[in-house]
Symmetry: C2
Subunit: 460 residues, 2 copies
């Protein structure tokens, strides 16, 4: 290796160190650095000069080399901003919890993603590392996504590849769909309880939320019909399979009725199909999308749930002028999803590792879900389970009337357990105190220990 | 390799083939596949069974194996959608052009990104492939971005790491900032001509655009003052350094005046700092952000311009309650930027390859810009160059009065040349016919040939 390269290599290592240092902090002397890197003083000096040329350090002759700092700005005055900013649309408290994981020390009984050991890690590393070496990953794809990925995703539905718009995960798909299909100020109807990310998405899009109760068979269609009449809503948001938080699966009968209502009222149904691959006991019914030729249903697909929380990749599947509108408007928001992530999704979905992963996942989720149900029944029977979910990642549980879920979740947090406060799943006051448990992110041992600690809190 | 693994490997290869086939198409027979994959008939049959189990193919005994197709849906009726959809906010024609590259056969004289050979390819492949093997890349980072990346990006500005919000590229940063800081229906003031992506972003956010003329020193501050009075706008959008399309750099004097106006009127200035690293002749002035303690300036940073169009990574840098609002609202739109992309950005920005890349880029862009200027002056002197840009990727050129840029750009497209129609850079009628040239995406030979073909068109 030439001295030049060696100096640059040392500069690299020092750069990494400098970002963790404070402005004005002193670097070790040349002699110490020579010893550390086993390089000549000249090479170390060359490395320091390189850093100095980019303004990262400043040499003071006779004193040493210091991390550069910019001169401080005067004390800020932000008072004008309070006047300039209008009221916040998004509920910051709810937003702060979305996707939140707590610390590494917490038992994650409320995280809607898979634990690291449940990911197809080997394949992600292999496919990812291969994709990063492809030139295609570093240029752009068409705005709607790479043709290959759109073809693969279309095959998940009764869809044409042209109906598919690739996005950076389900949440982005959701808010973008709401924003594009509904006018600010108009109403979107959700089931109640509903996914907090959907509540936030509606807020972000400037929409008003109306909620309709759901039971074990999904949204109550009679009440939905009333609400459509009353609100003149143009958009319904549903999770027909393994709804978060209740785990409900919309019954075959009600699926038909929802599509009939959509046709009668001329509304869009956003089908949040997040748990498509997270079935445990038997397969879920076909997507609503597959039974709707006339473009009422817009489906949101995600890979971050079944594959990896870091694989920020999803799709909006939509037919007709609405699909065109979505694909055309998308450019204003983001030119395309990172082609590297698209390449990785293609590689994963066409690999034989994918069905193997899903099979293993099914078994693992069944075990963890059963452990959670048994633990609650054995250790904390005061927590009632209205219905055991047949898929998805969540268990919805009811506490004795009068319980304060805010206090209980805070106490759980202090005791090292993260559990979801049911309040966040309602747009208004909850009808009863609920907790949402997740069984995808914690090990069996953690689940049992988490329920034990929660029981201690409930008995206080 | 066990037979099981071998069968799965063959299934993988067939999967890749199947996505390119039509439903109902026949796969080669077992004997042919045995020969092709040099595997026993039993192994090939196992591979086909695997595909069949996942519904990808269907075996018809005695006839062969066929690609599965779903039964066709009835003829769709989308007429109801026209009633359900409100007027489009985003101008689809302008959106279709944003980031558009034409085909591989076109000479790209209008693409605002770097050509493949100008990217730091070796580093992207090396850093990307290493990052894909890290477990961190497959879980989530905090919503605002990884602490390390926020620290690195803060050091580009006089900012605190807490002021930084990592986003998926500049366009996403731009539209998200407009949407969060301005109420739908309110006015955002831009310079004229301005970046079409900003015009689309404003449309997407439901904002009204008011434009103020700019000259070689950037936006005209006297006119800006009038427009602030007239419109009561709360947001100004600017590209202070190497504005797209004109290449103008806002003068030091005017920078001060813009900040004074912002303070007097209590408005936000969105500083689109896209060309920060694309200086050619001398360094640009410090970012507006660095001279504004009170949080008027919100800067948008991007890596997709100086590093790679596929590196969809940028940042919003904002102080005070506005910064908090932006970071809190972000969760509703997207839980976090793909951690893999964040890891790659960290690796690239702290590598000694980064300053080396920027140095090489400066030289290459100078050569290509100079070639473009010389070619226009020598070959097509009827195209006037009001001012040679000292940085950025674009050259703004004026055609003889009466030229129809729509026709000229269409003829150029047919002749295999992509050039930007000046109309897209104005919100109203353009004051004169302009073309926008880009010199970052085409080789010197392509630039000369492109100008030659354009001259042929202009002389017709």
């Amino acid at each position: 290796m030439s001295n030049d390269n060696r100096a640059s290599e040392i500069a690299d290592r020092l750069r990494e160190r400098i970002v963790t240092m404070r402005a004005g902090e002193k670097l070790p002397g040349v002699r110490n650095l020579s010893a550390e890197f086993q390089a000549s003083a000249a090479t170390v000096s060359a490395a320091l000069s390189e850093l100095s040329a980019f303004g990262l350090v400043r040499a003071e002759p006779g004193r040493g080399t210091f991390v550069s700092g910019r001169e401080r700005l005067p004390e800020p005055d932000f008072s004008w901003q309070s006047q300039a900013l209008a009221g916040a649309r998004v509920d910051a408290d709810r937003a702060a919890r979305l996707g939140g994981y707590g610390t590494a020390e917490h038992i994650p009984l409320s995280w809607g993603y898979l634990a690291p050991e449940l990911l197809p890690n080997e394949e992600l590393h292999r496919i990812g590392s291969r994709a990063a070496k492809s030139g295609r990953s570093w240029m752009m794809t068409p705005h709607a996504g790479s043709p290959e990925l759109r073809r693969i995703l279309a095959s998940e539905y009764r869809a044409d590849p042209n109906d598919v718009l690739v996005v950076s995960g389900g949440q982005q798909g959701l808010v973008f769909t709401m924003r594009t299909l509904a006018e600010p100020g108009s109403t979107v109807i959700t089931e109640s309880p509903s996914y907090p990310g959907a509540i936030l998405a509606a807020q972000s899009a400037g929409l008003t939320l109306a909620s309709v109760p759901a039971d074990a068979d999904g949204i109550r269609v009679d009440r939905l019909a009333d609400e459509l009449e009353r609100t003149r809503a143009r958009v319904i948001y549903l999770q027909p399979s393994y709804a978060n938080p209740t785990g409900a699966v919309l019954s075959t009968e009600r699926r038909k009725q929802v599509l009939e209502l959509a046709a009668r009222h001329g509304v869009f149904v956003i089908e949040d199909d997040w748990a498509r691959h997270l079935d445990i006991d038997g397969r879920p019914p076909a997507a609503l999308f597959d039974d709707d030729p006339d473009g009422h249903v817009v489906s949101i697909f995600t890979l971050s749930k079944p594959a990896s929380p870091g694989l920020r990749l999803g799709a909006i599947v939509a037919r007709g002028p609405a699909g065109e509108r979505l694909r055309a408007s998308r450019t204003a928001d983001d030119l395309c999803v990172a082609p590297l992530m698209q390449e990785i999704a293609c590689g994963l979905l066409t690999s034989s590792a994918w069905p193997r992963h899903l099979k293993r996942l099914r078994t693992e989720l069944a075990t963890r879900r059963d452990t959670l149900v048994s633990a609650i029944r054995a250790i904390a029977p005061e927590i009632r389970i209205p219905s055991v979910p047949r898929g998805g990642l969540h268990l919805w549980a009811r506490l004795p009337q009068g319980s304060d879920t805010r206090e209980i979740c805070a106490a759980a947090y202090t005791a090292g357990v993260l559990v979801g406060d049911g309040r966040h799943f309602f747009t208004d006051e909850p009808p009863a105190p609920f907790l949402r448990f997740s069984y995808g992110a914690a090990t069996e041992a953690q689940i049992i220990e988490g329920v034990r600690r929660l029981d201690d809190i409930l008995e206080q």
